[in-house]
């Protein structure tokens, strides 16, 4: 190969173009001083398509073929084939941000539909067109809180159960605005509201909780958490996901001011953590919302049309005074999520959610029957996942299960976490059998 396979120029065309611009060689067009010119060789060999396919297949086949019972913020739901097929249409895949709405009506409408679905699921009237993932959406929510909260305050209270990784991202986002994060003890895997009450004060900027939690528990009293936040003039930020939201209490009904979370639980298979940050909030905070918003308008002929709107909040116009630095977001993932929600419809989505409650409780019950295992550890209702106590060290259980072809989390010295959805449901019997073998 003598060049890029994606460069269409014939030798004659190149010659004609060089002549048109008045140079003999293309290197004359590079206005680069000699000392910074790269004269070396890049150590990168070109390969053919089949060679690269073979190479990547071989590389990735080094991943062990394990049946995953993993969750903790990244979930595997079955994605209908129609989503893969239609979202891969090149018009969707290869378009850019919709700066010329007249030729981007399709994508804009799809994003408008995505926003609408989140509005329905959260009960909050404003949803943006995506953030990167749940963790960065939480970081944005903290910065957002510092803009909209009426009095000063700089502490975000998070329950003990929140993943360290999520807290680390939150701390990175908060660092520049002098926001600090404080962990509040949990009880039974959910927020300990009296501990929360003790921790909250006039310095509290936002109170964060998750429903379901990272441990799979369902918060029994979200209203009380919201009240603590509001009694201290702080925002109540709730983390969730679209499957759970179809069944669990509506965030708007329990006083949530912001809903964040990962919406890619619909639309994407487990993709090593690649996500879709959800962000929804109240109407009075509209002008402080981070990220892109698609709005309905009209065209010159009087027909309904869609466009990016309120762009004066965004970095390309407001620069350092923007509500966020986000530019490229997760638009195509949002499109897939909207497709997946629409493919399930309200009945399918609700059925999936109910199934997540039943599966978690059934599997916990079956594990609990094994000698040396107690499940679930938390005396709560669960969604998709639960924590189990093991008499054997958790690490040994995890390793021994891996040897038998199953992946679960170790979350403590003697605690493991197990997540069940419709994609690993068929392996439950084998999983229980393997667990029985390694737990004793």
């Amino acid at each position: 190969m003598t060049g890029s396979p994606y460069v269409p120029h014939s030798a004659e065309e190149t010659a004609a173009m060089l002549e048109a611009v008045g140079v003999d060689d293309v290197t004359e067009l590079f206005d680069v001083p000699d000392p910074v010119r790269f004269e070396g060789d890049l150590d990168i060999d070109a390969r053919s398509e089949p060679e690269i396919r073979t190479e990547i297949d071989a590389l990735l086949s080094r991943n062990d073929d394990l049946t995953e019972f993993l969750g903790r913020g990244h979930y595997d739901h079955y994605v209908p084939s129609v989503v893969d097929r239609i979202s891969a249409r090149s018009e969707f895949l290869t378009s850019y941000t919709q700066y010329q709405p007249e030729v981007a009506q399709g994508f804009l409408q799809a994003l408008f539909e995505y926003q609408s679905m989140l509005v329905e699921l959260t009960g909050l009237p404003v949803a943006n067109a995506s953030m990167y993932d749940a963790a960065t959406a939480l970081g944005e929510a903290a910065l957002f809180a510092s803009r909209v909260r009426e009095t000063s305050g700089s502490t975000v209270l998070v329950p003990e159960y929140v993943r360290d990784e999520r807290v680390s991202v939150l701390e990175n986002y908060g660092a520049g605005a002098d926001i600090t994060v404080e962990r509040v003890p949990s009880a039974k895997g959910t927020v300990d509201t009296s501990a929360l009450m003790g921790a909250a004060n006039e310095d509290t900027l936002a109170v964060y909780a998750e429903n379901p939690t990272t441990r799979g528990t369902i918060e029994p009293d979200l209203d009380a958490i919201g009240d603590v936040a509001h009694d201290n003039d702080a925002l109540f930020v709730l983390g969730s996901d679209p499957v759970a939201l179809s069944l669990l209490e509506r965030p708007s009904d329990v006083g949530a001011d912001v809903v964040v979370g990962d919406a890619s639980v619909l639309g994407m298979p487990t993709s090593y953590g690649m996500g879709l940050g959800m962000f929804a909030t109240r109407e009075d905070f509209l002008r402080q919302v981070p990220g892109r918003l698609v709005g309905a308008s009209e065209d010159d002929a009087g027909f309904r049309a869609f466009t990016l709107t309120l762009q004066t909040r965004e970095q390309h116009i407001r620069r350092e005074r923007a509500t966020s630095n986000i530019c490229t977001n997760q638009a195509w993932v949002a499109l897939r999520t909207a497709m997946h929600v629409a493919a399930l419809g309200p009945e399918g989505l609700l059925e999936t959610a109910n199934r997540m409650v039943s599966l978690a409780s059934d599997v916990a019950e079956r594990l609990d029957e094994i000698i040396g295992v107690r499940a679930p550890v938390d005396d709560r209702h669960h969604f998709r996942e639960f924590v189990a106590h093991t008499d054997q060290p958790a690490r040994a259980i995890v390793d021994d299960l891996a040897a038998q072809g199953f992946a679960i989390h170790a979350v403590g010295e003697h605690e493991v976490q197990v997540c069940v959805t419709e994609t690993n449901e068929g392996s439950i019997d084998d999983f229980i059998a393997a667990f029985r073998e390694v737990a004793q």
Partner: protein
């Protein structure tokens, strides 16, 4: 003039006929009852679209036909690098072994780690950097990561007074926004003849400077040929020099940011390495650093271990900038793309990207005030409104350039054809530019007329925001 690019249009006159996902056409409310959960933990009902799969399929195919992509026609959006995205990269990112959970052990995901490691190595080689993190999920996230690394570096040196990030007036909006999100005051310096004004830079940097952010070539497509002097001024002030990788396509295999004196950089793999933009994401914004900054990289980082690969936390890591490990599927595509091109392909890319920009500009009747430029140029629509001209180009079947930015050029048309356009396409694009520029203002102002929607009222969209179908019902 022959124009080959046009969108499929379906319903010019009656555009409300076919919109099945809008609620009045298709919604269904389902009561939440018979749940395994008690009532006090559940909502009452949920209302969502309810369509059969054939209806759904048609709906989205129709929406795709109302969307202009790179395979619909040329897309010369300046600074966005809308080049061709090979389908094969999409295919290799869809193999079953790619779909793993991020909490899997390193031992059981050696394939994923091996690919990430190889991509880190490729990017380091291309950028002239010592190490690369793949965690940031987009270019702006890369900028934010880079600035957090600079902050950690200063902190480690006990250097607490560095409160400012300096950017040129030609910087992308994400640069000042990322610096501000990271807590810095932004100091903007003016350009001189389209390049960094060295005196202004010297005056702006000092003991309070945390970093200087620059792209090279800059957003005018102009190469900052004083880059060695710029690096010296910034380094003398004790600050790292940050490279915004948005324009890296122009330099592939010819100039490396590390060799120009940059200490931190981000790569926009969705621009330079041909991964699709997806209507605005997902992208990926890997960050490269020189050796002094490796210990500050985000957690975790991939390195080689005995006979394999492992994840580790760099000694003074800034922590995490993404909940898990970034946009993995995009990274596979970037790897496939780079592997397909190899060194010669990368060199050919920068050659043809620069040739195409120069050729297209030479065919235009419009003024291009700043030269010489590399892979993109900013033409001026002069006494015409750049937005109107762009709307007319839509009628002529092509996507217009980025308009009205950077604002140091009057009625700017920021144009980047990329290497994947042929001479014939460039000639058609030039025709569209020139035809539109020659037309009466009336025609421009009433354009577009041949697109799915006519000119859209942005003002009322912002004044009366309707952001969901629930708001439409009001």
């Amino acid at each position: 003039m022959t124009i080959h690019y046009d969108q499929a249009r379906w319903s010019d006159a009656e555009d409300d006929i076919y919109e099945p996902l809008l609620p009045e056409k298709s919604q269904q409310t389902v009561a939440v009852e018979d749940s395994p959960l008690p009532d006090d933990l559940t909502r009452d009902s949920v209302t969502l679209p309810d369509l059969s799969e054939p209806e759904l399929s048609r709906h989205y195919v129709r929406l795709s036909q109302h969307t202009y992509g790179v395979e619909s026609g040329p897309y010369p959006l300046g600074s966005c690098t809308m080049k061709y995205n090979p389908p094969f990269a999409e295919e290799v990112a869809s193999v079953d072994d790619a779909f793993v959970h991020p909490d899997r052990s390193a031992a059981s995901t050696q394939g994923t780690l091996a690919l990430l490691y190889r991509l880190q190595e490729y990017l380091a080689e291309i950028g002239g950097m010592d190490a690369v993190t793949l965690q940031p999920p987009a270019g702006a996230a890369g900028e934010f990561t880079g600035i957090r690394i600079a902050a950690a570096y200063h902190e480690a040196n006990g250097d607490h007074e560095r409160t400012e990030v300096v950017v040129p007036d030609t910087a992308h909006g994400t640069n000042p926004a990322s610096a501000a999100v990271a807590g810095y005051d932004v100091v903007e310096i003016p350009s001189e003849d389209g390049r960094v004004d060295l005196d202004a830079l010297e005056a702006a940097v000092g003991d309070t400077t945390a970093a200087f952010m620059l792209t090279n070539p800059n957003t005018l497509g102009v190469f900052e040929r004083d880059i060695e002097a710029i690096a010296e001024i910034v380094h003398d002030a004790g600050a790292p020099l940050y490279y915004d990788g948005a324009n890296l396509n122009a330099l592939l295999g010819r100039v490396r940011p590390g060799d120009m004196g940059f200490d931190i950089m981000h790569y926009n793999v969705h621009k330079t390495f041909g991964t699709p933009h997806g209507g605005g994401g997902p992208g990926a914004g890997p960050v490269g650093v020189v050796s002094d900054l490796v210990e500050f990289l985000p957690d975790p980082h991939v390195r080689q271990s005995d006979g394999g690969f492992e994840l580790y936390t760099p000694e003074r890591s800034i922590g995490k900038v993404h909940g898990f490990s970034g946009n993995w599927l995009v990274l596979i595509k970037a790897y496939a793309y780079i592997a397909r091109l190899g060194e010669e392909g990368l060199l050919d890319t920068s050659a043809k990207a620069v040739l195409n920009a120069n050729y297209l500009a030479s065919q235009l009747d419009l003024d291009v005030p700043y030269e010489p430029f590399h892979h993109e140029f900013v033409a001026s629509a002069d006494d015409l409104d750049a937005s109107d001209l762009a709307k007319r180009m839509l009628d002529l079947g092509v996507h217009p350039p980025t308009t009205k930015w950077p604002d140091i050029v009057d009625e700017a048309l920021m144009t980047e054809p990329t290497e994947s356009e042929s001479k014939r396409t460039l000639d058609q694009l030039a025709d569209a530019f020139n035809t539109a520029a020659d037309e009466d203002e009336e025609i421009l102002e009433s354009a577009p007329n041949r697109t799915t929607a006519r000119r859209i009222d942005q003002t009322s969209a912002a004044r009366n925001p309707r952001l969901s179908w629930q708001a439409l019902d009001d």
